[in-house]
């Protein structure tokens, strides 16, 4: 946590520190919720600009929830219910070629299904699941971040996992 007592966001080093601690989280949160299509990077910037503009009125303890709410609202303004698309990386670096074409095809089909299944999760499920699996965040951290109970986080992540399994493997 930040040591925020008696500090002021308008001071540049405090502002930078907040940016360093939180910008990545805000970015990931937006990405997992809305996908790569809506420039989450720019929205993070805009949210921090707003924080800077209001630095006199916001205490450092409130900065976190201010950033998440502001960034989320900015996204909502542009969000037109398009399909959520998340870019992914190649599964493995190609330094060997002994994989059969069938295997490669299966893998790329799996990725395709994965992408579609992710898009079909609810926003709440996707955000919690990816923060947990990709960012390695503990349930407690996610609960704090989203302002919900730990039980709720558990439910979302587990629900997402089962739904993905169902969608991808057709069980």
């Amino acid at each position: 946590m930040l040591k925020t007592l008696n500090t002021h966001i308008c001071e540049e080093h405090v502002f930078s520190k907040i940016f360093n601690t939180l910008s990545n989280d805000v970015y990931n949160f937006l990405r997992y919720k809305y996908g790569d299509g809506l420039n989450p990077r720019d929205k993070v910037q805009e949210a921090f600009i707003k924080l800077w503009d209001n630095c006199k009125n916001i205490s450092p303890e409130k900065a976190k929830s201010f950033l998440f709410t502001t960034a989320n609202n900015m996204m909502l303004n542009e969000y037109k219910h398009q399909k959520v698309v998340l870019k992914h990386q190649q599964a493995k670096p190609k330094d060997y070629t002994n994989e059969s074409p069938e295997f490669l095809l299966e893998e790329s089909e799996y990725m395709q299904k994965y992408e579609n299944a992710l898009a079909k999760l609810t926003e709440a499920q996707r955000v919690a699941f990816l923060l947990n699996r990709v960012e390695g965040k503990k349930h407690k951290e996610i609960a704090e971040m989203l302002g919900i109970s730990r039980k709720g986080v558990e439910k979302r992540i587990y629900g997402a996992l089962e739904k993905l399994r169902k969608d991808i493997e057709g069980i």
Binding site: N24, N28, R31, Q45, I49, Y110, R133, V134, H139
Partner: protein
């Protein structure tokens, strides 16, 4: 219990015994693969330091008042331009959407293949070799219309008007069974049940059951049939009644995916008869013997016909 175990795994809280139990789950592999694959969605390109630099430069830029007016002026002429561009794009989209909208379905058959298609209202289309149909699923309720190239047999469910459009003519019905055959210089409609209306060059011709209608090189020929289903659709036999021999050869090429070369043979003479679509040898005899022709097979894809 299982759910609890998985939740603990998700939170990284499993002890050794629990981990062992987790690994013994039948779904263990599937869970770990899902978990591992998720990691590929990480965006490693996000660089906090770089983003902070960008942010600082944005905040600093805003403090310089000279830049503000320039930006405003730029926006003022860009905005109307964007509007014009938007209208233009929307216009184009609307203009093209009925043609290129993904609501149209196209079904094609290759040479020597036939297929059966069920339309959205359960009407049935049997498509003969080397033919294609196109129709719109979206507009089907309002407009039962099929575009046809080649030959097809239609069993139409009762309902609103059903149109088959070819570039030679249009066939309209309400609910019936009929066959449409459209070739380069040849157009044929045979009605097997109900009443069919054929429009050809602005004229409407009504065709009752058992009647057929043919256009050969622009001339209209009316005829009759005793069958209740076209022979190609039921028995895989291509039959012809007073049809130019050239059309018979072309049908043979479509059914067997071969090329036929007719040497000094009159391809306009009329042919009545049939050939099977299943036995090439037998079919060849059926179309050559009655006219006293000889056939030579050059290779598997080419046949030459000559006079005896």
């Amino acid at each position: 219990m299982k759910e609890h175990l998985i939740q603990k795994w998700l939170d990284g809280e499993l002890n050794d015994a629990e981990l062992q139990a987790f690994k013994e789950l039948p779904e263990y592999e599937s869970y770990t693969k899902l978990s591992e694959t998720a990691k590929l969605f990480k965006d490693t390109s996000y660089n906090v330091e770089l983003e902070l630099e960008k942010l600082n430069s944005i905040i600093k830029d805003r403090k310089q008042p000279e830049q503000q007016p320039v930006k405003v002026v730029q926006m003022q002429w860009i905005k109307p331009l964007l509007r014009v561009a938007a209208i233009f794009i929307i216009g184009l989209a609307v203009y093209y959407s009925p043609i290129y909208g993904d609501s149209t379905t196209v079904v094609k058959t290759l040479a020597s293949n036939t297929t059966t298609i069920e339309l959205p209202d359960n009407s049935e289309v049997k498509l003969n070799a080397a033919s294609s149909i196109k129709y719109s699923k979206k507009k089907w309720k309002k407009n039962r219309e099929v575009n046809l190239v080649g030959e097809a047999y239609f069993k139409v469910e009762k309902g609103s008007q059903f149109d088959v459009v070819t570039w030679l003519g249009k066939v309209s019905v309400l609910g019936t069974q009929f066959n449409v055959k459209q070739r380069v210089n040849y157009f044929e409609v045979i009605c097997y049940e109900g009443l069919v209306s054929v429009s050809y060059k602005g004229k409407d011709i009504k065709l009752p059951a058992g009647k057929s209608f043919k256009i050969i090189d622009g001339k209209i020929v009316e005829g009759q049939t005793k069958d209740s289903v076209p022979s190609w659709a039921q028995k895989s036999i291509s039959s012809f009644k007073s049809v130019p021999y050239g059309e018979v050869i072309k049908e043979f090429e479509r059914q067997y995916n071969v090329v036929i070369e007719a040497k000094n043979i009159d391809t306009t003479q009329l042919f009545t008869g049939s050939f099977t679509n299943k036995d090439k040898e037998l079919a060849l005899k059926s179309i050559t013997l009655p006219l006293q022709l000889k056939y030579i097979k050059k290779d598997s894809a080419k046949i030459v016909l000559t006079k005896e």
